[in-house]
């Protein structure tokens, strides 16, 4: 794998892993995922039982810091399906977004389209999710795949802090990017969701989500 491919791969981390991009009407969820090369901040306003919209910001840089991109964007999420069982829940989400990308490897800005798909299944002890996202527009044309699977250390009750171990695997296509593996500790307490992990044992990644209503 050549150096340029490695730089581009590091530059373009996939979009943040959202637990549930559509929550409930009149709720706002804010989230931020940060590691040394990646910043992603979003606010989601859920305006119907199945739809959420909100602004976001993605910032990337290569591992050596020589290349940077910034993509302020607006996202729309649609919960296409939901299954509720006595001991489990599953969801399918479709996502679309528009952003304006700037970078130091091209001049000016480019409008980028941000389609996405997410499917998840969880019980009180098991969590699995599969995500596909793309960033497409002019010289910016990449897709990412993300798989998450993990387990809770115990079946936490509603008022408890619930600790989880999640293995996060991500890959950007057509970039020669190595697959990133991130063992992650997840803590959930009512409307607060915290994740901390180490990407390939090299750099820390933090993810915070918070729900609040007006």
């Amino acid at each position: 794998m050549n150096r340029a491919a490695l730089c581009i791969a590091a530059l373009l981390a996939p979009p943040a892993a959202l637990a549930h991009p559509v929550t409930f009407p009149e709720n706002v969820m804010v989230m931020g995922e940060v590691d040394r090369n990646w910043q992603d901040f979003n606010a989601w306003y859920t305006f119907t039982t199945k739809q959420a919209v909100g602004p976001g910001y993605m910032g990337f840089r290569s591992e050596d810091g020589s290349r940077k991109r910034e993509i302020p964007n607006v996202h729309y999420n649609y919960r296409a399906a939901r299954w509720n069982w006595p001991d489990a829940q599953a969801n399918i989400y479709l996502q679309a977004g528009l952003g304006s990308a700037t970078g130091n490897d091209f001049s000016g800005s480019r409008t980028v389209f941000l389609p996405g798909f997410q499917a998840d299944y969880e019980t009180r002890r098991i969590y699995t999710a599969a995500r596909w996202h793309a960033i497409q527009g002019g010289p910016v044309n990449h897709t990412s795949r993300n798989l998450q699977a993990g387990f809770a250390f115990y079946a936490g009750e509603y008022d408890d802090w619930s600790p989880w171990f999640i293995l996060d695997v991500r890959k950007m296509s057509n970039l020669g990017m190595d697959t990133e593996v991130t063992p992650t500790l997840r803590l959930v307490h009512k409307n607060l969701f915290l994740e901390a992990g180490t990407v390939d044992g090299k750099r820390a990644r933090l993810n915070v989500m918070f729900n609040f209503s007006f």
Partner: protein, 107 residues
Amino acid sequence: MKRLLVAALAAALFSSPAFAARSIKASVNGLVCSFCAAAIEKRLKALSEVKAVYVDLTRKVVAVELKDGKDLSPEKIAEEIKDSGYDVVTIVRSEQSIQQIRAEKSK
């Protein structure tokens, strides 16, 4: 005769929905995650008739205690839970308080 009248009035008063049911208890499918279930608590607490909300992931129960003299239909509670993304399997009125429903778990 006077005692009979008072007893009849009391019976009529306390048999009305507002006094017969202190709470409404629902059995809910999909209740597996506190981050998601917080939606239910927030929506139900926003109702002016609601005194307290109890979510029990183990028993898959959501219970709402009503304020004194206030009432809500079980259908309204079911609608709020459904709008939060969950499926209501059964929903019943109960004379138990949230404290009593919570205490049942430790028995």
